[in-house]
Symmetry: C2
Subunit: 412 residues, 2 copies
């Protein structure tokens, strides 16, 4: 029988009533003829409670013990989901990570999946079991210790199971009904996308549209797993949610698929840096060592052997960046007059695989912002994305204007 993977996030299994509602959806797919692999998160709030206790004991904890504690929330939901399905006369059983066993490396709290053997579960499907309920987010290391895959790791569990079992699709049930052209709280004209390409989803996910864990999208792209994001709070239908899939499966796509934004970006400028070969390495080497995630970089034209260098990084890494640059200056590795941090900025990005084949996107973006009187501070581009840093007070305006300019409120 064809296999379907269904993943339910924390809010979709927050209490017994919601678990029952989720189980009913599983029952519908079983009735259609699927053997179903269900991946569950912990009931919402549970993981935070466990992480809170661990941090209360020690901020610098043994990650192996952290993982042993924090993985327990998913075990509870897996058992409860199996019981609920059985109560509905759907043959089901639960598996904890070590029972599968979902093998990972030993990078506790951020483990990478190495192998998911399928024989054990496949044999149970052959015996008549219809649903395998798997505790998400967790695995087992070669030392026999429990590992976890990092926050949001159940999405990655789900995609990995879909890849290992050759599932027809991987449905991610969450509390939003799909991926939007932009945040509906900012633009009331935001529209749900029926389909989006893996590459676009990756850019949107890492730009702040927190629907799917980035790693799960990477994994889905690599193994070509069809991912569907949909709400567990809406009536089921075949066209519900957003399908994240390969570019080829999207018949006609718009040049721009979505407008993303991030408030957590700061702009830092080194004033009057002595310009010489290797200066970029001298600046960004120490930042990288200090764990600062530099995103955009811009270098002014040098005048009289000196230049200004501007970059962006997450707001909460500004202090760390300042220290790293001061230390490098004192060590004589770099030389600059001043360092200015501007935390009053925001990043707005237009994302779309159509950009690859169509020019003029950047021009239209810049003109739109200019027409609204919004000054662009930094620009960065990739093959399918254009990002700009602007004053934070203009962020909503910019998102709305760009959403209109690229006609995202209209169907393709």
């Amino acid at each position: 029988m064809p296999i379907l993977v269904m993943k339910f996030g924390g809010t979709s299994v927050a209490n017994i009533d919601r678990i029952r509602r989720a189980a009913k959806r599983v029952g519908v797919e079983v009735a259609k003829g699927y053997d179903v692999i269900v991946i569950v998160s912990a009931m919402s709030g549970k993981t935070n409670e466990l992480v809170g206790w661990v941090n209360e004991i020690s901020p610098f904890h043994d990650a192996r013990e952290h993982d042993a504690v924090v993985s327990s929330g998913e075990n509870v939901t897996a058992g409860l989901m199996a019981l609920t399905l059985q109560e509905m006369d759907v043959p089901a059983r639960s598996w904890q990570g070590w029972q599968v066993p979902l093998r990972t490396n030993s990078a506790h709290s951020a483990a990478r999946i190495e192998e998911i053997p399928t024989t054990n579960i496949t044999a149970k499907f052959r015996e008549g079991m219809r649903v395998a309920v798997i505790a998400g987010f967790q695995g087992i290391s070669s030392e026999g210790r429990i590992t976890t895959l990092g926050r949001g790791g159940s999405d990655t569990s789900a995609v990995a199971f879909a890849a290992a079992f050759g599932a027809e699709r991987c449905d991610i049930y969450t509390d939003v009904d799909g991926v939007y052209t932009t945040d509906p709280r900012i633009s009331p004209r935001a529209r749900k996308l029926d389909r989006i390409a893996f590459e676009e989803m990756l850019e949107l996910a890492s730009l702040g549209a927190k629907v799917l864990q980035t790693r799960s999208v990477e994994l889905a792209m690599r193994y070509n797993v069809k991912l569907r994001v949909l709400s567990s709070f809406e009536e089921p239908s075949d066209t519900a949610g957003t399908l994240v899939c390969a570019e080829e499966e999207i018949m006609e796509s718009k040049v721009v698929s979505g407008i993303a934004y991030s408030r957590d970006e700061a702009k830092m400028t080194l004033i009057s840096v002595a310009d010489r070969p290797g200066i970029a390495a001298a600046i960004f080497g120490p930042l990288s060592e200090a764990g600062v995630n530099v995103d955009m970089i811009i270098q002014n034209i040098a005048e009289e052997g000196r230049t200004d260098m501007t970059f962006s990084c997450p707001t909460d890494q500004v202090k760390r960046a300042e220290k790293a640059l001061r230390d490098a200056k004192e060590a004589g590795q770099i030389n600059y007059h001043d360092l200015i941090a501007d935390t009053d900025v925001a990043k707005v990005s237009a994302v779309g695989i159509g950009m690859r084949s169509q020019s003029g996107v950047a021009a239209r973006m810049f003109k739109t912002l200019s027409d609204e009187g919004i000054n662009i501070k930094v620009i960065a581009t990739s093959e399918i994305k254009i990002s700009v840093l602007i004053d934070r007070k203009y962020m909503e305006l910019a998102v709305q204007a760009l959403h209109d300019a690229f006609e995202l409120d209209k169907l393709a």
Copy 2:
């Protein structure tokens, strides 16, 4: 190094502060030179929450899934305890049941321990680890499913580890400071016992003194594990608590060690049963098949071929007993005029290994009750116990009078 087992119940690990306090006690024993095996229960309330969810889904649930869910509370405490010990610079790590692996049979929710391999943990002790923290109450079946040992099963885990590792002692930390001559809420003159024999503890445990799980005492007796019951809320000392040990280790014991009681006992009388050989089997066979736990039995002297038969059973099994006896009557297996259930009774027992060698205990017990005007309805005796069924309203009075009569308020 000598090994000590320390078990902490739910109230002793109810929150992070209490886990810290428990960890300090462990640290004291490590400093004395012990390698310590710590067995932990779930934080108090957690197991009830999990059981509540399981029962909300289905009262007739798959015990395998029940066990997978319910065992998670102990896993959380084990990890938190290991982290707390590490924070105190005590080398420690946690083990879940399947990691040991503590092997059990497949009687889910009431599994029996079959084997505890020691090589894995012993090797870690050799490498310098000082504390192995074990999630209590749980094991793994030969099918690789998680099992649990029944309510209070962490006591049994603790004793089993003490036996497997040849521990010097097994300390059970709980919210009472030891075993008392009777319930201090009933007799203010109740006194903590310094020592009690396994056999006495077994009678007291099964008679309603809920300090230790009965199975754990049986296991301790079989493997001669010295058990100490003590409070985690009092200052530690070498004479704290009560030592449950072999009879030989109690120098001079009183004739009676304790007075136990139970309110949950009902008296049932079959009036005018046709007396014939095999009548007892005809009555108690159906009761046994119906799952009624008959405790005391009394048969009146027969007159004209008929007799009255009285027995006691737990109050919540009265309905079941009535049905079984009515069915047997209708099937023509037994014949009686009437069946009278009296749920307004209580059982009071005097327990002591000294009874074996000293006579007159029963006489003194009956005279004491008679002097107080308390009528005895049923009597049952064993080698080290005399139990009587009386009107429930006299229960407190009987316990106090017997406690005084056997001078339990005075030191041996």
